[in-house]
Symmetry: C2
């Protein structure tokens, strides 16, 4: 039986495989996998999913995806290889020898149908719709993953792979229910911020996190690449920035090749890489490699040895920022660049202490440090648009009333989210939610993140449509390669489901599904920590 649109309340009665176990043992999953969990359910929950009453078996040695497309599509080629590998590695070691399944239908081939053009780069408005049908009786019992875009196929292949689990008997085969999925995301921008300034993160760790993002259908890697503490980005134009600003100028940097490989790894997974070059504050580490870029702070009329935000009184500094942004635009293919703009007020005192800056303000009728900040951000935003890019900024830039371009995105991180979401969208601006989704707040559990919804404010439909999504933020003060993966996952998975699935997912209790998802991430090499206690 096939239903093309199935309400969530139906699925539980229809499924027999996909039931909750109080599974006190699960060596097939993970040594520490001990909690109540589902089997073969998908995270984030698809919009429509219907499990049928037939079971299918997969012999990993005799299984393949078959592409159906009019185009050559390298991302699809790679994805098919990747998911073939996922399926083949799903049986635990002692089951690598196929022992056969006693009954049911054997599933040997999955069609992967791209019905639209092949695209090369993920982007804000990319299409991620897809369908999955497993053993479809009204269509020759085919199993098919289909989408009009390669991005949808990536999401569909991930969902298909999540339907498959090792059988619970000793047969050592893989099983999945006959299933129908019609799916698409609720929000277009489903991001994760990584901060590589407070602690350097090895490239391998970033790739591991990108792999996990794909498993959670997150599609934006917001790379907070530099900040006060270090400047690990090795610039082509200004190599002195990392020479002087990285923790180590030779080993603790991201070379152009590193950046390329990260962008490529993300691209193949439908993940945009949006770099953040935050200014005019949060730039201390830029100062060593850029002469007179930062404002010299004065006490009692003389330089006190400290430096503040970028000095907006020097026109050369705007030229410097513009050249840097031009390079950034050429290195990072995404349309958007994050230009920061947060917490500039911590530098106001320095700005106002510097006689050149205050003279500049007088000369230009700038009457307050807030206005000076606006003057600075204005120019930076114009630069961004002049190089045919678009900007994301932190909420302060909006709050200070700086003039913004139409496609500028405001990232809310600090204020009351209900009020800010309302204010930003009332002004017709795009909003991204991060407030409440700070992974460095270690007392916040996934349940806390899960409760937050970007449309929980009193707005119009037009306003809701301006909410592009949100980002979980992993600020780097207290994390490095030893603990960052387990700190992100599975807590960020809660944000991922909130941003993908429909608003009310209450009928399918998330905890047992998240337990399965943790298990799945661990199986695939992501060191996700326990989601819930025993």
């Amino acid at each position: 039986m096939i239903t093309t649109e199935i309400s969530l309340s139906q699925y539980s009665a229809m499924s027999w495989l996909v039931q909750l176990f109080l599974l006190l043992c699960c060596t097939k999953c993970s040594l520490s996998w001990v909690h109540e969990h589902t089997r073969g359910q998908v995270w984030p929950l698809p919009r429509y999913i219907s499990y049928q009453n037939t079971l299918n078996y997969i012999n990993p040695a005799n299984f393949s995806f078959k592409k159906i497309t009019n185009n050559t599509c390298p991302i699809l080629e790679e994805a098919v290889k990747r998911y073939t590998d996922v399926i083949k590695k799903m049986l635990p070691h002692h089951h690598h020898q196929w022992q056969g399944c006693s009954d049911g239908e054997s599933l040997q081939e999955v069609l992967v149908a791209l019905t639209g053009p092949c695209e090369e780069w993920p982007y804000l408005h990319m299409d991620e719709h897809y369908e999955v049908h497993v053993n479809r009786p009204d269509y020759d019992n085919l199993t098919i993953v289909s989408s009009s875009s390669v991005w949808g196929l990536l999401r569909g292949l991930e969902s298909f792979s999540q339907l498959v689990t090792p059988s619970t008997d000793a047969a050592g085969c893989l099983v999945l229910n006959s299933t129908d999925i019609l799916d698409y995301p609720r929000f277009k921008h489903r991001g994760l911020l990584l901060d590589t300034s407070r602690h350097y993160l090895p490239v391998s760790v970033i790739l591991n996190i990108l792999a996990a993002m794909e498993m959670n259908k997150m599609n934006v890697f917001h790379w907070h690449i530099v900040d006060d503490e270090s400047f690990p980005y090795q610039s082509i134009t200004y190599p002195s920035l990392s020479d002087k600003g990285a923790y180590d100028p030779k080993t603790l940097i991201y070379t152009q090749n590193n950046v390329k490989s990260i962008i490529e790894y993300a691209r193949l997974r439908g993940i945009r890489v949006i770099p953040e070059f935050d200014s005019p504050g949060h730039t201390k580490a830029w100062g060593g490699g850029a002469n007179k870029l930062l404002t010299a702070c004065f006490t009692n009329g003389s330089f006190n040895g400290e430096f503040g935000p970028i000095d907006p009184s020097r026109s050369q500094n705007f030229k410097f920022v513009r050249t840097l942004l031009e390079e950034v635009k050429s290195v990072f293919p995404d349309k958007y660049i994050h230009v920061g703009g947060d917490e500039v007020q911590f530098g106001f005192q320095c700005w106002m202490s510097n006689p050149t800056v205050t003279q500049f303000m007088k000369d230009n009728n700038i009457t307050s440090p807030e206005n000076l900040e606006g003057y600075y951000m204005n120019q930076v935003l114009d630069m961004v648009y002049n190089i045919n890019a678009s900007a994301i900024v932190w909420e302060e830039v909006f709050k200070h009333g700086d003039p913004l371009h139409n496609d500028t995105v405001i990232q809310i991180w600090r204020s009351n989210r209900t009020e800010m979401l309302n204010e930003v969208t009332k002004e017709g601006k795009y909003a991204l939610l991060s407030q409440g989704w700070y992974l460095d707040h270690i007392s916040d559990q996934w349940q806390d993140f899960y409760k937050i919804d970007p449309t929980d404010f009193n707005g119009t439909v037009a306003q809701y449509q301006l909410v592009l999504g949100g980002e979980a933020c992993m600020w780097g003060e207290m994390v490095d390669e030893t603990n960052i993966v387990s700190r992100i996952w599975p807590r960020a998975s809660a944000v991922a489901e909130r941003l993908w699935s429909q608003k009310v997912v209450g009928k399918t209790a998330p905890a047992p599904r998240l337990n399965e998802h943790v298990c799945r991430m661990k199986q695939r090499g992501v060191a996700a920590q326990p989601a819930n206690g025993p």
Copy 2:
């Protein structure tokens, strides 16, 4: 210049190598090692340490320890091998080729002198005093680690190894100041509790944690091996306990060989392994493999399907516990067994619902569940002493006024610690502090743990002497192999220093030393998380 007793205030003026760096690069240490940190300082801080004004160089290829002892002493043999390895692996990879040091004195041989008998098993009252002298001018410029016990030598070798660091120039050699250390611990019992019931921990993870304990001079592994959630200990006498009570009876268990290898690994590092078989509560996982061991709970006069604490109305159950404890005594060589006794009150309602139990109480003039608990614990404590062991119990056993043997140790975990430490020691009982040192309280940082001192109560000297030390507790609900190591270290290091070093260590700011120690742990394969932000 040598001083045999040097006050802590002197050391900082005397040292030039051991200074604080705002080291923005430290590839020699760790890729993520970016904080203000010391070089060549010892954690936990020795009682007396004096750095001299001469520098010594080590060529790892031409370095050895030379044992001076009248005994064969296998623990010492192993320790010398282990620390030789630590020294040889201290240079980063690209420096494995010795390039030589430009000047200073070459240190090729360290004498390791055991001046007393060789002991085989660590124990509560073992002697851990040691001295380290590096390039001692009044004694032929020898470098020596000496102690009258092998346990002291273990601590001394660890301290010596912590004095050594890679040179900061490009020479690729190891350096250390001439130094004198006279050292011994403030408390005898410096423990770490691991809970292998809520999540199973692979043996390799436990060994890694034991290795880190040695680096922190902790000497008790309190193995909370079983609990409500699972029974991973594979008993010789009662194999059904893990067959029915482990998360998986084949893979998620500790076999006798596993247990032996853990005890041996700990023994070689001077670490006692104290198993906890907590009863009569916290025993749900025992029930499947032990017929009628647990109390059947009743509702409205009939069994409701739930089980409570061990049923004290059946004499067979005491026989069962006694046989189990006899086995435990034969498997775990330490004098002490932890027999739990916490949170029994959560089972009182079940006890009182069961007609056999209430009839038993009536027959034996037991008038309250508290008294029934006392009746049970009394018998268990007697068993422990009858098999020539000693007991550690949780504080409830003391609070309920159960009669205790003289060497029973009360572990304080829940009450106001100041009051409980006072009350326990006023009664002449031994106390262990854990309250405030719960590693599962993830918002507590190392600074919070560091503030707590087991003698912070208003008692007499005789009372203070009854405080044996304390334990950091890593309860297992939310940790498994993905995050337990980074969650324990370096936060437990704060407890380790509190229990080893003198009470006032304020003159040597702990944060930069702890940053170095984190770096050192990572170098030696322990995934310690950042101690402090940048």
